[in-house]
C-alpha cells in the first residue's frame, strides 16, 4: 500500500465503537462496585472454608449446614473460590466496558447470565435440598441479582440506541 492510497473503508467489524452514554457509564461503575462487594464476600467464605473456621450467621441459622455440605465444594475447591473468580471477572469486564471496550460488554452480559443461573441453582439447593440458608450465600445471591438488573438495564439502553431513528 502506497502512502498516497486512500484509507480502506471500515468493515462492519472494524467500525469505531461509540463511546458509552452517561447512563451506561454509571451502570458499569455500579456493576464494578457490586462485583467488589461480591469479591469480599467470596474471599471471606473461601478463607473460612480453607481454615475450617465456623462462620457465624446473623440472620439465619443454617450457615454451618450449607457451608459444610457436599455442595460447598467441587472436588477440593470451595465453591466460594469459583465465586471469587466470577466476581473478579465481572469487575474486570465492567471496568473495561466502562472504558469503552465493546468486546468486554458482550462478555459481561454472558458472564452475568451464567452467574444468575448458578445462583438460582444454589438457591434451589438451599431451599429444597439442604433446607437451610446461609447469610453470606444469600448476600451473594442478592449481589448477583443486582448485577443482572444492571445488565438488563444496559441491554435495554443498548437496544434503544441501536434502533435507527425514524428520520
Amino acid at each position: 500500500m502506497r502512502a498516497t492510497d486512500p484509507p480502506p473503508a471500515p468493515s462492519p467489524g472494524n467500525l469505531p465503537s461509540p463511546p458509552n452514554s452517561r447512563a451506561e457509564l454509571i451502570l458499569f461503575i455500579l456493576a464494578a462496585l457490586v462485583a467488589l462487594l461480591g469479591l469480599a464476600d467470596s474471599i471471606y467464605l473461601t478463607v473460612h472454608h480453607l481454615t475450617g473456621q465456623d462462620v457465624d450467621c446473623v440472620a439465619s441459622t443454617g450457615c454451618e449446614t450449607v457451608l459444610t455440605s457436599s455442595y460447598s465444594a467441587l472436588g477440593k475447591i470451595p465453591l466460594a473460590a469459583f465465586g471469587f473468580a466470577g466476581y473478579f471477572a465481572v469487575f474486570s469486564l465492567a471496568t473495561l466496558a466502562a472504558f469503552d471496550r465493546r468486546w468486554a460488554r458482550r462478555l459481561f452480559f454472558v458472564l452475568v447470565a451464567v452467574m444468575l443461573a448458578v445462583t438460582c441453582w444454589l438457591l434451589y439447593v438451599q431451599a429444597f435440598v439442604l433446607h437451610a440458608f446461609c447469610d453470606f450465600c444469600l448476600l451473594s445471591a442478592a449481589l448477583t441479582t443486582i448485577l443482572s438488573a444492571v445488565a438488563l438495564a444496559l441491554f435495554i439502553i443498548q437496544k434503544k440506541s441501536a434502533r435507527p431513528s425514524p428520520n
Binding site: 469479591l39 478463607v47 475450617g52 441459622t61 449446614t65 471469587f84 473478579f88 471496568t95 466502562a98 472504558f99
Partner: protein
C-alpha cells in the same frame, strides 16, 4: 495512558483482593495445641462415668467433644464408627457433650443422650440421634421427638422424661462443659487422639486412620 488505566485498575484490585485473602488466611486463629501430658490427662475432668466405647486400656483413645445438631459431627459419626469396627479392641472412643448455644435443638438432644445414659443406653441414643438427625431437627417439638426415641429404644419412659429435666443430666453436661472451657475449645467436633488435638478439617476416614496408625507406630 488512558489506554492502560483499566488494566492497571484490574491488576491493582486483583493484588489487593488476593493480598487480603492471604492476610485473612494467615491471621485466622488456630488454638495452640495443648501440652501433651498423656492420654486425656490434661484439662478439667469431665462427667464421670464417661461414655466410652471400647476397652479402657486400648492403646489408642479418641476423645470427641460433640454436638448432635452440628453437621460436621454427623459427618464424623460414620467415620468414627467405621474406625471402631476396623480397629476393634485396639481403639476406644469417648464422647463428651458440647452442645453449641447457637444450635437451638442441641441441648435437648444432649439431655436426651445423657438421660438415656442414666439407663445405660447412651450409645444407642447417641447413634440414633446422629442417624435420624435430619428427622428430629425438623420436628416442631424436639422434646416429644426425644421421648419417642426413648420408646424406640425400650427405655423406661417415665424415668426418661424425669431425667430429661433432672439435675443429674444438667450436672453432667455442665461438667463436660467445664472440660471444654479448660481445653479452650471453640468448635464441634473437637477431637483428641491420645491427648493430642486432631486438627485436620474436614475429618476424613483417611486422615483419621493416618493419625490412629501414627499412634500405634509410637507405641511400638
Amino acid at each position: 495512558m488512558k489506554r492502560y488505566l483499566p488494566y492497571a485498575i484490574i491488576v491493582a484490585v486483583f493484588l489487593i483482593a488476593t493480598g487480603a485473602g492471604v492476610a485473612l488466611y494467615q491471621n485466622h486463629e488456630e488454638p495452640p495445641p495443648p501440652p501433651r501430658t498423656g492420654k486425656l490427662a490434661y484439662g478439667k475432668p469431665a462427667a464421670e462415668p464417661a461414655h466410652v466405647r471400647g476397652p479402657a486400656k486400648a492403646p489408642v483413645a479418641v476423645e470427641e467433644f460433640g454436638d448432635f445438631e452440628c453437621v460436621p459431627c454427623s459427618l464424623l459419626y460414620p467415620i468414627l464408627k467405621k474406625a471402631e469396627e476396623d480397629y476393634g479392641e485396639r481403639l476406644s472412643v469417648t464422647f463428651r457433650e458440647y452442645p453449641l448455644p447457637k444450635h437451638t435443638h442441641a441441648n435437648m438432644a444432649a439431655r436426651a443422650a445423657e438421660a438415656a445414659g442414666l439407663q445405660g443406653r447412651f450409645w444407642e441414643m447417641h447413634d440414633l440421634l446422629y442417624e435420624d438427625r435430619l428427622h428430629w431437627l425438623k420436628e416442631a417439638d424436639t422434646r416429644a421427638a426425644m421421648v419417642s426415641y426413648a420408646s424406640t429404644l425400650g427405655l423406661d419412659k417415665v424415668r426418661f422424661q424425669k431425667d430429661l429435666d433432672g439435675e443429674e443430666v444438667t450436672q453432667r453436661i455442665a461438667t463436660d462443659g467445664e472440660r471444654v472451657k479448660s481445653l479452650e475449645l471453640d468448635r464441634t467436633p473437637s477431637v483428641f487422639i491420645n491427648g493430642d488435638r486432631f486438627t485436620p478439617r474436614p475429618i476424613t476416614t483417611e486422615n483419621l486412620r493416618a493419625a490412629i496408625d501414627a499412634e500405634f507406630g509410637k507405641s511400638k
